[in-house]
């Protein structure tokens, strides 16, 4: 993903439960597309980075420079999706839980 733009955007990340040691009790899925957000939220922020109104104001304040120490807005998940996970509990019973906010759908500067 080195060729992707530096601006805040969603990047691909596939998480395999075996990689984090949860595969002994997580039955399904074995892996899922989690994605992540990375990139700069530099002034001026284009619409593609979905800046919140607050982020826009913060970016302007930072660009003007009248108040020291104000950072750039952060590139963070905007819309996220839930994920159903089938796993074994401590008593080896099968449990299904739908966890919210498990994968990134869009990113934004916030």
């Amino acid at each position: 993903q080195w060729d992707e733009p530096r601006v805040c955007a969603r990047r691909y990340l596939k998480v395999d439960f075996a990689d984090i040691g949860w595969n002994e009790w997580v039955i399904s899925p074995k892996s899922f597309d989690a994605y992540y957000c990375a990139g700069a939220c530099e002034f001026p922020m284009p619409k593609i980075v979905r800046p919140s109104n607050h982020a826009t104001i913060q970016s302007i304040v930072r660009a003007v420079g009248i108040i020291p120490g104000i950072p750039e807005p952060c590139c963070v998940p905007d819309k996220m999706n839930s994920l159903g996970v089938l796993f074994l509990d401590e008593n080896r019973n099968v449990v299904l839980k739908v966890y919210p906010n498990m994968s990134v759908e869009t990113c934004g500067c916030r």
């Binding site: 039955i27 120490g69 996970v85 401590e90 008593n91 099968v94 299904l96 839980k97 739908v98 966890y99």
Partner: protein, 332 residues
């Protein structure tokens, strides 16, 4: 609101055991060909495809039965203690396999096939009605348990899995803290009840809405079952302790290696100029305006020497002293 669950609370259904059972075994392992595994896998596939909150809830727990025979009667024990306090029970269903009535079949008729005139004796019919008694008891309790409900099960014409709504029973048992639930099957016959094979063992599904699932870190609370900072790794543990500490100032003071009796803020020497601070730990609160441009504090010996010397304080007193000495020396 729970109608979107695949099985209504009281319904008869037939699951083809061959294909889903194989699928369950492939996913859950070779030892998981029972119907509860098949059922849970079907639920998972259904709600993974849709990507919606199932029936207003977000959790389905299954409970396998442990069979015990008491007074020649089968008693299935369900340990519901894994239900979390944050899980609000929406529905609970009891799933069982009904044996078909033993109506005579051609090969069961006890007569000679070719002797048309011979009288045929039919085998005795199966039980017309099966009763299930639900009792609940607390863990480690010696009593038989409190009777929570009873229901009659009518066998369908052919063998089928059925589901009965036991929401009220499970909710009442949980409310009273009695999370061991027993289901006693009673056919009313004198003959001892013959336990079903494992594939046909009853099971319970509890549909719940976990109110804590939207809390931060909820996935780790239920799925992370190891200590990310094991005992032999003190550094990350110390870092985690600092991060979660409610009183970071005390801990920082305890870790400071410098003198603590000199009325100086501990750790001042160690703070880099651009050290990131915790969000709740505002830099302005520690360093008010006049002190923002603090210069590196001289060492303790130098501070003592500073008090003894009469020269104005500058950043490089030793050099000044040497230079003035040299000037005086030149005048001389």
């Amino acid at each position: 609101s729970h109608s979107s669950w695949p099985l209504p609370p009281a319904a008869a259904y037939s699951l083809q055991e061959s294909t889903p059972g194989d699928a369950a075994a492939a996913v859950l392992g070779p030892g998981a060909r029972d119907m509860v595994a098949v059922h849970m896998l079907q639920l998972y596939e259904k709600y993974s495809r849709r990507g919606v909150q199932p029936g207003g809830g977000n959790t389905v727990r299954s409970f396998r039965a442990r069979l015990e025979v008491v007074d020649q009667k089968a008693v299935y024990l369900f340990n519901l203690s894994s239900i979390q306090n944050s899980e609000m029970i929406l529905t609970a269903t009891f799933h069982f396999y009904s044996e078909p009535p033993r109506w005579p079949r051609a090969r069961d008729v006890l007569c000679k096939p070719r002797a048309k005139s011979a009288p045929c004796r039919l085998p005795p019919p199966g039980p017309a009605r099966l009763h299930v008694l639900f009792r609940s008891l607390a863990q480690n309790a010696a009593t038989q348990g409190l009777l929570r409900g009873a229901m009659a099960l009518v066998p369908p014409p052919r063998g089928l899995w059925q589901a009965k709504d036991i929401s009220a029973i499970v909710k009442a048992a949980r409310r009273d803290g009695e999370l061991l639930l027993s289901a006693q099957l009673d056919s009313g016959e004198r003959d001892p009840w013959v336990p079903r094979p494992t594939l046909h063992a009853p099971y319970i599904l509890v549909y719940a809405n976990d109110l804590a699932i939207s809390e931060p870190n909820s996935v780790a609370v239920t799925l992370q079952r190891y200590d990310p900072f094991p005992a032999g790794d003190p550094a990350p543990r110390a870092a985690a302790t600092r991060n979660s500490s409610a009183d970071p100032r005390v801990r920082r003071a305890a870790q400071a290696s410098g003198p603590l009796q000199d009325n100086e803020l501990p750790g001042l020497d160690e703070l880099p100029a651009r050290m990131p601070l915790a969000p709740h730990f505002h830099k302005q609160e520690l360093w008010p305006g006049p002190f923002r441009a603090l210069k590196p504090r001289p060492a303790r010996k130098e501070r003592k020497r500073k008090g003894q010397d009469s020269f104005p304080s500058t950043a490089s007193q030793v050099l000044d002293f040497d230079e003035k000495t040299m000037q005086k020396a030149r005048r001389r």
